[in-house]
Symmetry: D3
Subunit: 227 residues, 6 copies
């Protein structure tokens, strides 16, 4: 059961060499490397284009309109972490702005992923502190109710455990469970190795139909060409 | 009751020194300074990033798919105004484009806030005429039905009276009623005065937990730390 | 009836001199020139700002979560085409990424218009391959079911026949049926001819109320001015 | 400005003979009688079909996920009132259930109109306590923050002052400002007087085209019939 | 191209024995019989449960907030028709109420399918005039702009030609093009013939896995059972 | 990580005496008894009103537009189970109809909870097989891709493990993890014990303000009454 009012201080983070390297591949390749699972809903959008990061998740569960726990989670951040904030019910208020970003950044956080709203996006962009959020909103929040820190959370439809790896870029956000980070890194590396050759062929005009040998299965499935 | 078919020519605008200064603080600070009220819904987004304006509201009520009153409101614009356009029922058509923007700009309008769609956004961006809207759409409109100008309107869920101050930036749009503009400016000034010091502390690694003295109330509320 | 499992190889494209020239006018003017019809829903957004294109439609009908037919349509692309992808039911998965874009671009495609999601948007932006889509999503797809290529499709609420002209820019996407492309080009040319003069007048402070002679019809409709 | 933390005890209610009679006409006729204004957004739906009520508004402004003020507003209810609950930001939690309904009903409330969620809808239906809401949700709320009672609120996009008349049925919810209640009742009565005759004609096969004499204006507008 | 301002008086309706019989099978079976195409978007919901109808489409294209053409289409209705109303841009206003329903019913219309809102739903339910709509709304409309009658329209994402068959029930609305009505009826009849036997087997505890011989293909696809 | 292509045959179900008794309390009370967590999103609605059930979860993960695994999960159903179906990406197709319902019912399933669409709702209602779904849609599905059975899934934003208890009624759906079912039952029983007395007091006109002793904390929070 989702516990409320607790902060887990000792979490097992994915080893940093794994967590760090996954950024390179981007969310789409990593998601494919995992077998096409682990993605957060596509309504999670970056506040500015071009950021591409990975890091270890510290999680926080918030109540609608209440960002008290954002201050609690700040203390649990270690360099290389990405804060993943989930809500107990849908809300678009601005839970996070430039002051919290300054605090998170000084603790070593690489990004925030939040299933709600954020504000001060112009300043966050200048600070180069990337955020993936559901909304941008000036709406302030109160500090009245306890949520939790470093419990498993469902963020934008995806289950995230503290210590998992988060990979985020312009395409979206993916969560790589700690237990499969190594295998995922290997699979992503292999996928990418093939991409250059494929790209060259396609650029030269070779069709995917031929490169992937799809003509036969398409015909078998009944595809008819009509002139 | 919402009157249809009327244009109020004489409205009492917030004094310009108040209306002008509020831009500096941005929508989030102003919204906080007012006690966390007055915000338009977060679906109102700027057509380009980086604009930050304030001005006095002239309002217009439109029918879905009909922009006739946009020409009527143009005449009521004075330098320093921001046009606030509300609709009688939800619609995303493009009520405003580069020609109307040229007219609005020549009358001294600083921006448009519209709970509907706009078009010609590339040209509007080049003109640096900022617009906050619900949608971007090429869909043209007709000129057939009377709405009203300078009556109180509900725009994106917020009540706006003609003459109120509108503050808009990348975070959203807030309406400051005329009667509280002075107090809001004072409160916003005070809020900002404290921000520099706070930011420096947070950047130096001081936690919000300590800076805001939250540890005791959190403990009182029952927060448990688990190692 | 919508046929499944067929590929029409011979389609009649709008003459290229018509298809090419329409880009210049942009989606809003073209849509007006057609009598305010033909627009795709405004949720279709460009993955990067500033692209403005036109071209002849090759169409593809896809099933949710299955991009097999994207490889089939690639073979049917000729230089100057724009691929229009419709779905049999709503879906936001990423049907298209940098490899397919490389293939499409090498075949001469100018753009993709897809009523679903795409990914690798950073790379697509670097390649300057413009896409108008409903979503951006890392979510991968399978290759299991037959759709069709070059049948009439309903894409984002608009009917598109293969060979029609697609015009797309920051304001949205419009479909110009082949049979009216010539008349639309003429009408758009004429509309634009008048715009410069209008813009100059409006910039000089002339009101639309006077320029368009609206005062009398507004009065007739009952508009009252209140001082 | 929207005041927070206040309860206005003395409000001027529309006279009960006006407030009571408007129910008879239903929301559509009343909305037309007012000149097609005053409607709440159509996402406000009744929790059961068939209820048709009117009454005087007592208003309450709530924060997301916090129903403390629902207990405060209960005390301000007088027989014949309808509670109108607005939120400071969008939220679908269940702010109201059978216990509050028992309390409201014992105070003489006729209905609840709430721009959020409610629960215990099976029991509410058995109690015949009608509710128009944005959502149905089991999600409970906290009691931590002050809103206000009997201030003007924007509920589902419509401005409601305490003491206004609310008319609600299966078609939706309309707010009749106190100052126009009498005129609206008169106009609604007149509208309905004509309906019986019209209905009889239409049932007999007379076309609206003829009954409303639309053929000439349609022809003037350019309608062409093609055989 | 979508023509505006025209009424086609002579349309070729699907033969009534075909149009009438399809109701029996319901929208799901008919949609399957057609090869899983032709469905309107699932946001189209009946105003009351239990109606199941089919009939020949007469189509009407409306502008947002304007129901003038509903009176024009009324004259084109023949017994056995179903009116299909599409919009030029999304809108939820109430375009249709009890008076128009009386008129439509007296002309022999069996139902209305409208990609917008309707009102007077309590009376429509008492009249047993079924409507499938996107919304229910008291919002009235104006009569100012020309649309068209009996042109091909895109309604809720589906292409409908005048004379096609519409099948609608609690599951949704499907459009059967005139040219495939006969084949669809035959296919639907055959599908249903098998259903009784299947249902009996499943009720007796036979698994679909066995009845449809799925175990082998599942194993081939790699399904693993873990104890 | 979410495994694809696996079926767990041996799951540990919550003891039936616990799973069975929770239905009595309904989703709102159970959700409160758990500390206000565990709810599925409120867009999950029953296909007919009045059903109130509880049972042990068997889970299935489906791909958009593909219901193959629904046949696989059928075999894993035991009397007293409720099938919980999650999707890998959002989709509203009709994954379930009367044939599958016959099979599920014959295996002893009490209900289906599915984050997608269903069809044949009239027949399902007649069979009294309750379903909570995101949509109703005639849209058929294919049988081409492997998902999984009895893995942990995120359904409508809530994490569900196989063997957990599902409680569903007109207010929504809540998941009670197996490990807290007993404590939740105890807490729910206690909550309900107090409700009768409270209801009697409120019905007699006692205010919640007094019954819950809220006047003092409200005053402390700063609530002002204005006459």
């Amino acid at each position: 059961m989702t516990e409320l009012g607790v902060v887990y201080r000792n979490i097992t983070r994915t080893e940093s060499h794994l967590a760090d390297q996954l950024a390179h591949f981007g969310s789409a390749t990593v998601h494919e490397a995992m077998g096409r699972v682990g993605l957060l809903a596509p309504y999670m959008r970056p506040i500015y284009a071009g950021a591409q990061v990975s890091g270890t998740a510290v999680t926080v569960l918030l109540h609608p309109g209440d960002n008290w726990m954002m201050h609690v989670v700040a203390e649990q951040i270690r360099p290389g972490d990405i804060v993943v904030a989930a809500l107990t019910s849908p809300n678009t208020d601005g839970f996070f702005g430039d002051l919290l970003a300054t605090s998170f950044q000084s603790r070593g956080a690489r990004a925030l992923v939040i299933d709600a709203g954020v504000r001060d996006v112009k300043t966050l962009t200048e600070m180069r502190f990337p955020v993936w959020s559901k909304a941008i909103s000036s709406k302030g929040t109160i500090k009245a109710t306890l949520g939790s820190v470093n419990i498993p959370v469902v963020c934008a439809g995806a289950l995230v455990h503290p210590g998992d790896v988060i990979v985020a870029d312009d395409d979206g956000v993916v969560c790589v469970p700690r237990g499969v980070a190594e295998a995922t890194l290997a699979a992503a590396t292999q996928r990418e190795a093939n991409e250059g050759e494929k790209r060259a062929k396609l650029a030269a005009g070779v069709l995917g139909l031929d490169m992937y040998k799809m003509r036969e299965p398409l015909a078998k499935a009944g595809l008819r060409y009509i002139d």
